[in-house]
């Protein structure tokens, strides 16, 4: 069975919600929809206070090349536009809407019928993705339409679909693959058409046998799609590791997958693309896993964007009394949130509640040079060294040692027996090195 060759870890899977079918979470009384739910420029708000908006109506338009449209997830009156603290912990602008009923825009096909005939051309598909605000739903939220345009002079050989979901706890992609397999594969076919490729490889880790079986069965009806079971290993869901595992090509540091002839999209994104292209439905709701060992009713919910996390926790049985940490995303790469009123956004794949006794960091001891961080690093860096260099402000050397290659998967910190906060320092070093590089560039342009 395939996997990426070097590094990686096996954290406990804890997929508590794997067998919980996706349930629809009703729209709350009010939603807060941030204008930046993607990588790139925040969208420009086009509604005013007091306006009545319908579910699926565009409320903020894409601004610039790397940006995305934002749609209302509910029907109701715009209460205000104001700043809000989002899941990243930073302030940003959001549209506050008071919900009145649930009136969808007429263009959305709300029937259960699966539409498999693809009528749109390649360019029209890309336009539709832009229009519908489709972004990568694996967590990075990069606007999908950009990834569908293969740059001039480059060639895409393979479309790779990421159904790995290697983060512990999360099961939203798994549920979609099991419940919406056919829609996902139509979505994959649409993506193939947009990219002009005839081969798509769908990678799924071997701990999801039901999804592998189901999709393998379905894929017989589709041309060019092959399903690949992968050996379980974190961080296989990282784009570069998945490409290495499936087609044995290494994306060089600072390059894009398309430079080695591959484009990667998430399984959840493929579903969103299906809905946008075949059903005219913009991206305003997604599947979110709400889980935690102390939760009474953990599950997978179809949630409207802008719904406060609080509502989601209530639906899952309420906040356990001993909760010590709430993480947006997976336990390896997610971000802890400091209040439960933050809204669910397009990139929210899961919310995990940790009890207090699992929220504390390990005690920090001296490095014993056991070299585990080196052996688990999927990018074959030397994390202990990068940490030390960053601690001692030796940023030039850190740059030479490849600190900017780090994708922050956290395997080093996870494995360190001395409990050293390796990734904290690597992040700090990375940020500083990037800043210094930018300053250097600006100085150069100034002198030229």
């Amino acid at each position: 069975m395939k996997t990426f060759p070097s590094g990686g870890i096996h954290p406990p899977e804890n997929k508590l919600t794997a067998e919980m079918a996706i349930a629809s979470l009703p729209a709350p009384e009010s939603v807060t929809i941030p204008v930046s739910q993607h990588i790139g420029a925040p969208a420009t708000i086009i509604v005013n206070k007091g306006d009545y908006v319908k579910t699926g109506q565009i409320i903020a338009t894409s601004k610039g090349f790397v940006s995305s449209n934002i749609h209302s997830s509910v029907s109701g009156k715009v209460n205000k536009t104001d700043t809000v603290i989002d899941t990243t912990g930073y302030k940003q602008t959001a549209v506050f809407i008071d919900v009145e009923g649930d009136e969808w825009i007429e263009t959305i096909d709300r029937s259960d019928e699966i539409v498999s005939e693809i009528k749109l051309s390649s360019d029209e598909i890309i336009e539709k993705c832009l229009e519908s605000g489709i972004v990568g739903l694996g967590g990075a939220t990069f606007p999908s339409h950009i990834k569908l345009k293969v740059p001039a002079g480059k060639k895409c050989d393979f479309l790779i679909i990421n159904g790995v979901e290697c983060e512990p706890f999360l099961t939203s992609d798994y549920r979609l693959m099991v419940e919406k397999g056919e829609e996902i594969l139509i979505g994959v076919t649409i993506l193939m058409k947009a990219l002009g490729v005839d081969k798509a490889m769908f990678g799924i880790e071997n701990n999801k046998p039901a999804a592998i079986k189901h999709l393998t069965e379905l894929s017989k009806k589709f041309k060019g799609i092959s399903i690949h079971a992968l050996k379980v290993k974190y961080p296989q869901g990282a784009e570069k590791q998945l490409i290495k595992a499936l087609i044995n090509r290494e994306v060089p540091a600072g390059h894009l997958p398309v430079d080695v002839g591959a484009v990667v999209h998430n399984a959840g994104t493929a579903f969103a693309v299906y809905e946008a292209v075949q059903k005219n439905k913009p991206l305003f709701e997604r599947v979110v896993t709400i889980t935690g060992k102390t939760m009474t009713r953990p599950g997978n919910f179809l949630v409207r964007t802008g719904t406060p996390v609080r509502k989601l926790i209530e639906a899952a049985g309420g906040l356990p009394a001993d909760t010590g940490k709430i993480v947006n995303g997976g336990p390896m790469m997610g971000k802890a949130i400091n209040n439960i009123d933050v809204p669910v956004v397009k990139g929210t794949s899961g919310i995990i509640l940790f009890p207090a006794n699992e929220s504390e960091r390990a005690e920090i001891n001296p490095c014993i040079r056991c070299a585990r961080c080196i052996s688990v690093c999927a990018l074959k860096l030397e994390p202990f060294l990068l940490m030390t260099l960053s601690e001692k402000n030796m940023f030039e050397r850190a740059e030479q040692e490849g600190i900017t290659n780090c994708m922050e998967c956290g395997s080093c910190s996870y494995s360190c027996p001395a409990g050293r906060p390796i990734l904290d320092y690597v992040r700090l070093g990375k940020a500083t090195v990037n800043r210094l590089a930018q300053e250097r560039k600006m100085q150069q342009t100034a002198t030229n």
Binding site: E250, P331, I337, N339, I368, C370, A378, L379, S413, L423
Partner: protein, 333 residues
């Protein structure tokens, strides 16, 4: 909300291994060899081990408490490992006072002066051992013959190690085939029935520890295999060139401290290199130096010196031998 949420950055989960667990894992892996040693050398083995372990822990405590005035870390298990390894490298009839001096050198000089756990360039137990070998050559080289559990401590019957018998004999012009008859058979050596340091004799017990540490992922195969492999290769060449002057590779691996050194001393985290490529170079260096000292040097045994010499190259290797980064050399196919 009444209670504050923890917002430390990712990862939000941590593996189960801790420094303590790894150190106690090594201690456990050393147990088969310790039991065998007690079985062969009796009371002496118990006294030497206890003295060494207790004095190592005590010196670490005293230095941290009164000189460094830092938090006490004797429970992390590293001092116990040093104490055990030092004891394993001593003859079982060595006087207590000498062990205490050795422990002071091991912990005080080789470990704590550099800043304690994680900072010492040389293996503390080996520094202690070599210091004792140079300072007390007579006591350090009078090896009790394994005589069973009932053996007394200081009055044990002593004899030369197989390596010393060969070295002395060859110097006196005896033939190797004649000398081979004076030493235990390969099977006896594998079971540990020969003169030597108390922990190094029983090959099978050390190998049990090796398998345990590999299974528990405490160490990787790279260093032990390259040490043993390079010794086997080098001595095979010498043996094939002149079997009348050079002992066979199996003898070289089973005699003396090769297995103890390769499995437990050379793999010491702090003083060994950190990436697989360097580990193999380091292991081969130890193997080659060991054979050179054994065959051409003044001492019959050279594992300790070989490891200490290679320890000195570790910082250099860590600086100049780098793993090839992911995506550095594009090979697409």
């Amino acid at each position: 909300m009444s209670n504050l949420l923890n917002i430390s950055p990712s990862p939000h989960t941590h593996g189960k291994d801790t420094t303590k667990k790894l150190m106690y894992g090594v201690v456990l892996a050393l147990m088969p060899a310790l039991f065998t040693s007690v079985f062969y050398f009796g009371t002496g083995a118990v006294i030497v081990t206890l003295t060494s372990v207790i004095s190592c822990i005590t010196f670490e405590y005293l230095i941290q408490r009164f000189i460094l005035k830092k938090p006490i870390s004797i429970t992390d298990g590293s001092a116990i490992v040093t104490g055990l390894l030092l004891a394993f490298n001593l003859p079982s009839n060595i006087p207590v006072a000498i062990i205490i001096i050795g422990s002071l050198i091991a912990i005080g000089v080789a470990k704590m002066t550099f800043g304690g756990l994680g900072n010492n360039p040389f293996n503390p137990a080996l520094v202690g051992r070599v210091f004792m070998l140079i300072s007390f050559p007579v006591q350090m080289t009078s090896w009790p013959v394994p005589a069973g559990f009932g053996t007394g401590y200081l009055d044990a019957v002593t004899g030369a190690t197989p390596l010393a018998i060969i070295k002395e004999g060859l110097k006196n012009g005896e033939s190797l085939s004649g000398l081979m008859e004076k030493i235990p058979s390969a099977f006896q050596m594998f079971m540990g029935k020969m003169g030597g340091s108390m922990g190094e004799v029983a090959a099978f017990a050390l190998l049990i520890g090796f398998v345990y540490m590999l299974y528990k992922k405490i160490i990787t195969w790279h260093i032990p295999v390259s040490v043993i492999g390079s010794i086997a290769l080098f001595t095979s060449i010498l043996w094939l060139v002149n079997p009348e002057l050079n002992a066979d590779p199996l003898f070289h691996i089973l005699a003396g401290g090769v297995l103890l050194g390769a499995i437990f001393m050379a793999t010491d985290y702090v003083t060994s290199p950190m990436n697989p490529k360097s580990m193999i170079i380091y292991g081969c260096g130890i193997g080659i130096l060991t054979v050179i000292i054994r065959v051409w040097g003044a001492y019959p045994e050279g594992v300790s010196f070989a490891i200490l010499i290679m320890n000195a190259f570790v910082p250099l290797m860590n600086t100049y031998i780098k793993p090839k980064r992911f995506g550095e050399e594009v090979k697409n196919g």
